[in-house]
Symmetry: C2
Subunit: 295 residues, 2 copies
């Protein structure tokens, strides 16, 4: 295993523990809700957003004991969005991370409440203990996550996505959707991780640019994988976008050009980190990982 792969595994194991500690035990009432929340969050996922938070924290000299909580908050927002997206009213998907989705394993009402409660828990975590150099900075982290999750962030991106089914979006419109749908939360991961330390304004600006490139690259690669990888590898239903007549980078650009675009975004991400030197090594590796991943 490469040194980078070992680092990833270490972060993922740490996140599993931190998330498990924050999630109420299934023995506490309401038991079934807590059981379903744990089912939705634990035991799976690449934890890309936490990895980005940890790597950004390294650039800003952040204590990993603090970053892990900011990372957990972001991951819970991501997890809640998956639970709600999979519901029949949205994507109506039965498989996620190789397991039945929450509404299939439990029921729709529980899935609705799981998502709602996971979102609350994310803000609970961000406010529960000191994570930044001062409380004002930490309040700003709450604001950043709330805006990344809300109607002008992730939830808004979902709405644009829903409205786009069967419609001929152009590349600008597709990018607008993804900047909201996945980009906002990926940006929040990077910036929240950094704000657990003492980043300069210039560092935050560089990370912001990096995050935008990575967010788009992540989505372009997702589209390529959805078009090409088998369901068993993805752990979720493959080929859904085409089946739903959803516009994707692949449908607009073709696979070859989409792959090229991902490489260009990777190069842009590296360029954004040029002035940050050695502490940004993990962020560079993550840019490569996001573009080269096969699942």
């Amino acid at each position: 295993m490469s040194e980078f792969a070992a680092w990833m595994q270490g972060c993922q194991a740490r996140m599993e523990n931190v998330l498990s500690d924050w999630l109420p035990p299934a023995s506490i009432a309401p038991q079934r809700l807590h059981e379903a929340m744990r089912y939705a969050v634990l035991g799976g996922g690449k934890r890309v957003r936490p990895l980005l938070a940890f790597a950004a924290g390294e650039v800003a000299g952040a204590d990993v004991e603090r970053v892990q909580h900011a990372a957990a908050a972001v991951e819970l927002i991501h997890a809640y969005s998956l639970v709600h997206d999979d519901m029949p009213a949205m994507d109506d998907d039965a498989l996620r991370r190789g397991k039945p989705t929450v509404h299939v394993e439990f029921d729709e009402a529980t899935a609705l409440l799981v998502g709602d409660a996971l979102q609350s828990l994310a803000f609970d975590i961000l406010a529960a203990q000191p994570l930044a150099r001062d409380a004002a900075t930490q309040l700003n982290m709450v604001l950043l996550l709330a805006q990344a999750a809300g109607s002008r962030g992730m939830a808004g991106g979902q709405a644009i996505d829903l409205a786009s089914v069967g419609k001929p979006l152009d590349l600008t419109e597709l990018e607008f959707m993804h900047i909201h749908k996945t980009g906002a939360l990926i940006r929040a991961s990077v910036l929240l991780g950094a704000q657990c330390g003492t980043p300069s304004e210039a560092t935050l600006a560089a990370l912001d640019h990096y995050a935008k490139c990575i967010g788009l690259a992540f989505q372009v690669v997702d589209d390529v994988l959805d078009a090409e990888a088998p369901t068993a590898t993805l752990g979720k239903t493959a080929g859904k976008d085409a089946a739903n007549n959803k516009p994707t980078y692949v449908s607009l650009l073709g696979v070859a050009r989409a792959r090229e675009l991902a490489q260009e975004l990777r190069a842009d991400a590296h360029a954004a980190l040029a002035d940050l030197g050695a502490p940004a090594a993990r962020l560079r590796q993550l840019a490569d990982f996001v573009v080269e991943r096969t699942f």
Copy 2:
């Protein structure tokens, strides 16, 4: 109109403006989501939670220009919970505040996202500008709201409520459900309003006790109204609890004893305020209002 009624109207009008200012205009993308968010929140509702926040703010010498934002945050959590509760997977209700529910007027996917985005907006508001004497206190307000909304608060209460349909709950179990389902957010309204000022620990403890009494009284009265008032007066479908075979204070105690219990809780609420003197006058009036209301 009584002086108290005029104060209520003033607060309600203020809330309408504040909420309208915080909600993104329907002209901004994603337009349909923003339109539906405004539909869900504006133009209706008693605004009981904001009224409690304003009244509690008076006890703590809070600036109303600050309290209004804390009140808006709590009201948005309440509004999101109504949107999700009304969905087919939950209560499946078609009428709310005399209008078609969000999933009926728009669609289920939009209702899901409206609720999600309203919750995010609540935390956005709580973190967007100074509301308390210092940032650490304000972070504590975020924590309070997150816990009140989450799986050990409101969302947990919903889960207990769902699990109780058709089951013979006893009075202790019913109270446990309501302390979560409505009590937690009413408590948050009162404490957040106060924390916009400079409350002493003793004041916060008194307000906490007051809020618990009011929260239960509110629910007991709700059950009485649901059993007795016509749909046209309520602005929502009446008689639903009995139709759904849901345990209520009325089904467990009968109407007469439920009314008596509400009066006892009103007396307890007044007693909790005994040491707070004249600044608690509004809170006393609100206790009376909550118990005497007919809608």
